[in-house]
């Protein structure tokens, strides 16, 4: 296969991978790799196909092969970082992203990805600082804006619309990342149906994305009509649960002073409500999943 043909394959596969058409990409790559088994570009794209298809171990094997031949290739190191994150090898992932940042100190995306790693390892303050640093170099960088948005969700879940999300909606309105964050924002505000609608649109766009499918399923469960009695807990979280426990304890005592039978009935009703809140959501999730 000629070099120009390899370049053509690389371009075609890149276009297919942007649209997540992994089967077609694999079909194009196979004959090219048969002719050029050691070509870094082709191997890297094969690794991306495996990554998109959740064949993480295969992707890791291939990307390590690329890095053995070309250890400085930024695209390979970026994919290696993503795979290390997926395999929860956070220490090594941090080493890789720090090396990339030292070599490319003005690549805002790398700060965003490092911030994402810090959020996954519960290092919130550093995540916030990294997102802020990255946005100095590129105020429109989607990855930094997404990290900043998540930090704002964590700090003020019920606050005003996140500034990071506002910028994402203006600069990257059709990005999957933006729409996922919109769904999360709606969920945090208690608009579960709105969040579910957004998530369902995302699944239509990427039906093979397991993460999105799972997210949409969880929102479908939360927004189901049989979950309406749990609305206070869904809206106010654990604050509502504490209030409920206190209401139950105080209610049983107060009613019991007037009517023991009524107190008994009240206690049974509260107990049934608690059992329903534990048992029904996982059952519903299983029913909806099938």
């Amino acid at each position: 296969m000629e070099t120009s043909s390899v370049q053509q394959v690389l371009q075609q596969v890149a276009a297919l991978l942007e649209r997540r058409r992994t089967t077609q990409a694999r079909a194009l790559l196979q004959p090219a790799l048969a002719a050029h088994p050691a070509h870094s570009g082709l191997l890297l794209q094969a690794a991306y196909v495996d990554y998109l298809e959740d064949r993480i171990d295969d992707a890791m094997r291939t990307v390590r092969q690329v890095l053995a031949a070309d250890p400085d290739l930024p695209a390979a190191r970026e994919l290696y970082f993503a795979l290390l994150e997926l395999k929860d090898q956070h220490v090594e992932a941090e080493r890789v992203i720090i090396e990339l940042l030292r070599e490319y100190p003005e690549r805002a995306e790398y700060y965003g990805r490092y911030a994402d790693l810090m959020l996954r390892t519960l290092n919130f303050e550093k995540a916030k600082q990294l997102a802020h640093e990255g946005l100095k170099y590129d105020p429109d960088d989607a990855v930094c804006l997404a990290a900043r948005t998540l930090c704002e969700f964590i700090e003020q879940p019920a606050g005003d619309t996140s500034r990071g999300l506002q910028q994402l909606l203006v600069r990257h309105p059709e990005s999957v990342r933006t729409l996922v964050l919109v769904a999360i924002a709606l969920q945090q505000r208690g608009d579960l149906r709105g969040a579910r609608r957004v998530a369902q649109e995302l699944v239509r766009a990427q039906p093979d994305n397991e993460g999105l499918v799972e997210f949409a399923r969880a929102l479908t469960v939360s927004a189901h009509w049989s979950m309406r009695p749990l609305w206070p807990m869904q809206k106010w979280g654990w604050g509502a649960s504490f209030a409920l426990w206190l209401f139950a304890i105080i209610g049983i005592r107060v009613i019991g002073q007037y009517d023991q039978a009524a107190a008994g009935i009240f206690a049974i009703v509260m107990l049934l409500y608690v059992i329903y809140s534990w048992v029904w959501p996982p059952i519903l999730k299983r029913l909806i999943g099938t």
């Binding site: 640093e133 649960s241 504490f242 206190l246 005592r253």
Partner: protein, 169 residues
């Protein structure tokens, strides 16, 4: 003057950027998700204030912030011990009578359960950012059964020991 101010600003930015590029993670001390709020709530409800403090301390250990939270736990522990002592002493008779009138003969059990729930609530406030962070990024929570049951046993043991000491005094 502007050039020197810019130079200082650049030096500060480089310094803060350099600080950000220092590794945070190490194999020996990875931050882990805290016990779920549900596990903490049940442990406190069934085990009392000491059980609640124990499981919160375990969560702080997992979050690598035990030294930061220790002062809060120490204050809550002290308040629990002093409060229990005061309740059982002669000076606490008025309070005991009032509680018994409101809550019945099981007033002590309800009171300690209430205190435990307050401690759980304060613990949630202390770790609420970490809880939201863990939920948003989908971190798996540790299984709360073993730690919860162990903390409940410990809590009951400490509670009985405290009552023993108070009665002997």
């Amino acid at each position: 003057m502007d050039a020197s101010r810019d130079a200082n600003k650049n030096a500060h930015m480089t310094h803060s950027r350099e600080a950000l590029l220092q590794p945070t993670l190490s194999e020996n001390s990875l931050t882990a998700a805290p016990y779920s709020v549900r596990a903490t709530l049940f442990t406190g409800f069934f085990g009392g204030p000491f059980a609640a403090l124990a499981i919160l301390a375990l969560s702080s250990l997992r979050l690598r912030r035990l030294s930061r939270d220790a002062i809060v736990y120490a204050v809550l522990l002290l308040l629990t011990i002093v409060g229990s002592w005061a309740l059982y002493e002669t000076a606490g008779t008025t309070m005991r009578d009032w509680l018994e009138a409101q809550l019945g003969t099981s007033y002590l059990r309800y009171t300690f359960r209430f205190v435990a729930l307050i401690i759980v609530g304060l613990g949630y406030l202390l770790h609420r950012r970490e809880h939201r962070n863990a939920d948003l990024v989908g971190l798996a929570r540790p299984n709360g059964w073993i730690a919860g049951i162990a903390c409940i046993f410990l809590g009951i043991l400490l509670h009985v020991a405290l009552l023993f000491v108070i009665n002997r005094a």
